[in-house]
């Protein structure tokens, strides 16, 4: 892909780029549709309910119907809102969430941009979504939306720090920021994957990852009981759908990133199982992490804002820093 960018721009190349983009978008839309269905079903079972079961066989068309409802809904913009920013905010939130997926290696040679700084690219661009959320909250001209936006920004900035620092251990062990090479450096057996030597980093990464996704137990930006719905309270119809879409695309992205960084990407858990295609292993690990997100959402209560900040700065950050020191000492001794 990247070598095509350097070549003269012809119509064929433009079409190839566009086709890749549309294909990836369709895959992600399919994922989001059924991730929402799966989430509702899983939480339903865990809470002794059925979950959606009316629309289509087993309720499989429930999300399709929901999205259709959002599309044909009236698109309201508050009169006192800052109109251009109100329209722009969902776009600014969604675009980075989709763009970060470009660098994730699903298998050894499935479509992705083989960037030298893949991990940095992910972290850098995912930070821009926060701007969209704050702007959405600010442009709504609503105190609950503004509070939600501010909380969202405070939370995402606080948790981005431990998230980034927790993966430095992985970068030190593999010596590269290239996601493809990070997967290659992990072996064909599960005890060679990064999550065992980097167990502290892995735990910090998972907690910070859930917080970055604004999911329960860290869903303070949209705490229904205190803020109505957070930064997107004034949004309806398609614009609201874009905020939700961005959230679920980040679920996709963080689950893929965890698989790549800590769970060996497309590698099989045992070397003798390597005959099964890598994409199957990737999808399996990916699904387990997505399930984990739904699982804790169904079982954990929401924490308070001061507990959230305390956890981020006083527990996760020192742990992540300690992880770097231990990794460095270990590497210094063995090298």
């Amino acid at each position: 892909m990247l070598d095509l960018v350097g070549q003269p721009l012809t119509w064929t190349h433009t079409l190839i780029f566009a086709a890749y983009g549309v294909l990836l978008l369709l895959i992600i839309l399919g994922f989001v549709t059924y991730a929402i269905y799966f989430e509702r079903k899983v939480i339903g079972w865990m809470q002794g309910r059925y979950g959606p079961n009316r629309t289509g066989p087993f309720g499989l068309l429930q999300t399709v119907a929901d999205v259709f409802k959002l599309l044909i809904k009236e698109d309201t913009i508050p009169r006192k809102a800052d109109r251009p920013l109100f329209i722009l905010a969902p776009v600014i939130t969604f675009i980075p969430s989709f763009v970060v997926v470009a660098t994730i290696p699903f298998t050894a040679n499935l479509i992705h941009a083989d960037l030298n700084v893949g991990l940095l690219y992910y972290v850098a661009l995912s930070g821009i979504s926060t701007i969209g959320m704050i702007l959405g909250g600010w442009a709504s001209n609503n105190k609950y939306a503004l509070l939600g936006g501010m909380r969202s920004a405070a939370q995402m900035i606080s948790y981005e720090v431990p998230l980034v620092i927790s993966v430095i251990g992985v970068i030190m062990m593999t010596g590269t920021l290239n996601l493809h090479k990070i997967v290659e450096a992990q072996g064909d057996n599960f005890w060679n994957w990064n999550f065992l030597p980097q167990i502290v980093g892995f735990i910090v990464f998972m907690i910070a990852g859930v917080s970055e996704l604004n999911r329960t137990p860290f869903d303070l930006p949209e705490a229904e009981s205190e803020l109505v719905a957070g930064y997107h309270v004034e949004y309806s119809g398609f614009r609201f759908a874009f905020f939700m879409l961005a959230e679920y695309v980040y679920v996709f992205a963080i689950a893929s990133l965890t698989t790549v960084l800590f769970l060996g990407g497309w590698h099989a858990p045992f070397a003798l199982l390597a005959f099964i295609p890598g994409i199957v292993w990737f999808l399996l690990k990916f699904s387990i992490i997505v399930f984990f997100f739904f699982w804790i959402r169904a079982t954990m209560p929401r924490i308070r804002i001061d507990q959230l900040m305390g956890l981020g700065w006083k527990v996760l950050l020192p742990l992540a820093l300690l992880n770097i020191f231990i990794t460095a000492i270990y590497m210094g001794i063995t090298a």
């Binding site: 700084v117 850098a124 930070g127 704050i134 920004a153």
Partner: protein, 174 residues
Amino acid sequence: MFSGLGGFLSDGHNWWFLLFAIGAIGGAIYMINFTKVVHMVLSVAFTFISLAGLYVLLEAEFVGFVQILIYAGAISILMIFGIMMTNHRGEEASKKRPVYHVLLTIGSLGLFFILFYAIQNTSFPPGTFEAGEDNTLEIGKLLYSQHVIAFEIMSVLLTVAFIGAIVIAKREED
């Protein structure tokens, strides 16, 4: 002056360059022209992202994405926070005298011609640029060999600033 234009436009890199350059300049112009402060921050963020695009075109991916992470992400959000904590209304631009506009035009034209003259008279050394295979690695090596003193001084400076921030926050708490 415009002889190489056909070749210039057939290269994909140059289209990206035009896009990012226009983005960077456009963002800066809008930043000055907007009256609401939040709009200004957004235009500045746009400029930062366009500059990052230019760095990537120059094969400096590391600098480019750090630019997005620090400037477009962190600094823009910091500014938005600062703006929201303080009170701002869309302020009316005060009337400027005609002399002001004349001086402004002369000044900007003068600056343009100085820059134009300097760029026209610069001779760029021929030859191709060899970017490192992994420029993050190369930057790391340079930081710990040639520039290690500057790097250490920077880290001490950042620690001092960090402690200073804690001290100020503590004082306000009491």
